[in-house]
């Protein structure tokens, strides 16, 4: 009875803390500009099913994709086991689903196979990160916390799977010894291999089984509350993020409606003057981005597929699309803390531009869309880069000098080079 109460309290506290964190993330995302992404729900659902659920874009890199798929399947399917653990924990039963008989045997059998595959995949991931030094997993922006974060996630998953297998191993041994309440249930293709390592003493076995059981559930609940400060948040946000992705072709960049109103008024003085409530053209800080840009930032898993295909990054420029997303999230969380602390945002003398993302980075972009194409969860770093450029050019008039030449050529001669408009058709005479 005591353990049931403790279990209930743990579950409640973990759930409550997660709810509070989730609300904060939701509030932070809502700091962005409103945009409408409620159109074409069926098409969006299809994108989500293919890209997030089906992991379609992951398979551009087959090896990590396969390993990731195993971890993902393991995560989804072994979570059925979580349901049993929660019911057992609250009601004091043991293996409550065992009445399912043959199906239960099948479930436990497949959980075990998946658990060992997840464990092996996480080990390989650790090796890739720390020993093989895959380039995109060892770049500058991943130093310190992001690297620790990645390793922690893998380590926790390995520990959770180990606890799960150890629990089953002890359970099975207790089943064979006919100890109550360890009824004959399930099949243990993997953990049975571990049982020879376990002691024969019944009390010791019960201790191991109970310890593993508690370790597993407490670990999962702790992990749930680790998500909001981790890149691992993608396991939840990948779904809404792909649902709300851009459905147009990638070449089409957003039209700035505020500019359209001004340009129309300029070209036709008969029109009423435009609404002047637009406070800023382009993006300087978090509040100038759209909520989708902010959702993108929270969804990023820092896998670096974007940076690995970025022509600027490949050729040694400091631009890294992954860093754009990481900076956006860091600044967003800083802004969120500012709001928590002061009730509403108080100017802190910082901004996304310059304090996080430098001008050298954003001017190195070729807008080639390789990063957008590569992202397995449809994040768009290019929109943020473009927004920052728009701010620099339209609010500050601080484009690089050569670009200013190009822009004034277009303005004066209708071509980016210094040729006269009247000479435009000269080639037809040659």
């Amino acid at each position: 009875m005591v353990s049931q109460v403790i279990f209930g309290i743990l579950l409640f506290v973990a759930g409550f803390l997660f709810y509070r964190n989730a609300r904060k993330i939701y509030r932070n995302i809502r700091l962005g500009h409103p945009i409408n992404r409620s159109d074409h729900p069926w098409q969006r659902l299809k994108v989500m099913l293919l890209v997030a659920f089906g992991q379609k874009k992951m398979f551009k890199r087959p090896v990590p994709a396969l390993l990731h798929l195993l971890v993902y399947l393991g995560f989804c399917i072994i979570n059925i086991e979580m349901l049993e653990i929660i019911i057992d924990g609250l009601s004091g039963t043991h293996r409550v689903f065992s009445f399912l008989g043959g199906f239960y045997i099948f479930l436990i059998y497949s959980f075990e196979l998946l658990a060992i595959l997840v464990l092996a995949s996480c080990l390989i991931f650790l090796i890739r990160r720390n020993i093989l030094h895959v380039r995109r997993l060892n770049q500058k922006e991943l130093q310190n916390w992001p690297k620790t974060d990645a390793n922690l996630i893998l380590l926790v998953e390995i520990l959770l799977m180990s606890a799960f297998l150890l629990m089953n191993a002890a359970d099975q041994k207790l089943q064979l010894l006919n100890v109550s309440p360890y009824i004959q249930a399930g099949a243990f293709p993997i953990s049975s291999l571990l049982s020879m390592l376990l002691p024969a003493n019944i009390n010791a076995l019960i201790l191991i089984e109970r310890f593993s059981w508690w370790f597993h559930i407490v670990g999962v609940l702790a992990f749930l509350n680790y998500l909001p400060i981790s890149k691992h948040l993608h396991i939840i946000l990948a779904f809404p993020n792909t649902y709300f992705s851009i459905l147009d072709v990638k070449g089409k960049f957003e039209n700035m409606e505020a500019v359209t109103a001004e340009v129309k008024a300029m070209l036709d003085p008969a029109l009423p003057p435009p609404d002047t409530t637009v406070s800023r053209f382009g993006v300087k800080d978090i509040h100038d981005l759209t909520w989708k840009n902010l959702l993108d930032a929270y969804t990023c898993t820092e896998c670096g597929r974007c940076t690995a295909v970025c022509p600027a990054n490949i050729t040694g420029k400091i631009l890294s699309p992954r860093k754009i997303m990481m900076d956006t999230r860091d600044r967003l969380e800083e802004t969120g803390r500012n709001i928590d602390h002061n009730a509403s945002f108080v100017e802190d003398g910082k901004s996304l531009l310059d304090h996080y993302i430098t001008r050298e980075e954003i001017w190195a972009c070729t807008t080639c869309n390789a990063c957008v194409e590569a992202c397995p969860v449809n994040i768009n770093p290019l929109e943020i880069i473009m927004g920052l450029r728009q701010y620099i050019v339209m609010e500050e008039s601080k484009a690089p000098a050569s670009l200013n030449n190009m822009l004034s050529n277009i303005e004066n001669n209708g071509a980016p080079w210094k040729y006269a408009q009247a000479d435009r058709a000269n080639w037809t005479q040659q």
């Binding site: 500019v259 420029k317 400091i318 484009a399 822009l407 209708g414």
Partner: protein, 264 residues
Amino acid sequence: MENQLHIPTVAELVAQGESPDLLFWVGCAGSFDERAQRITRAICKILQHVGIKYAILGTEESCTGDPAKRAGNEFLFQMQAMMNIQVLDGYAIKKIVTACPHCFNTLKNEYPNLGGHYEVIHHTQLIHSLIDEGKLKPADGHAFRGKRITYHDPCYLGRGNDVYEAPRKALEVLDADLVELKRCRSNGLCCGAGGAQLFKEPEAGNKDIQVERIEDVMESKAEIVASACPFCMTMLRDGVKAKEKEQDIEVLDIAEITAKANRL
């Protein structure tokens, strides 16, 4: 054949009480860049050869605004767009073919929001459909038979607009030794010119993007790298020069290859 090429302007046709079925949007590079002018003429030859009633805007054409938009100057982009839309709508233009993927993308995807609605195709799509209709056929014993040819996907044609097949179909009819670059189609590597990069010096790094790209071409052992964009043309030629491979690698546009194979 070159001197027989007659390139009508829309104004000319209108003065004769006629109108073109297809507007050929030449673009700034196609109008002013000497190398790109050869691509422009190749497209005109093809249009004239198949008997399409086409015209250009001539001095009435102006930059679509693409480099301004990508450089972050939305004002200038929209000014350009609205002025061009006035000209296009003034002539009641319905269908446009472009020589440049950047013009293609902007006219097709970004003008509708500003009131300009046209059917826009890229020249590789036009060539593809002309081949399908049997109007273009490589001449016997043309120069490309058996040649090792690869294709570089321009970003705004490929990833930007999902046009991957049309340019490849134009090469497939050549009976050549076609080879893909290791980074191709949606994984294609940019030439380094997009996003207004063509008009500025690159940021500090350890290599130029066009050099990185030409190394892909060298790895493919192709003698000809085909592209379909005047900016890619500039960058790829620059890369070839940087690698001192002018004798081994030729950079040609799909339009030039098609025109030459058809002996136009």
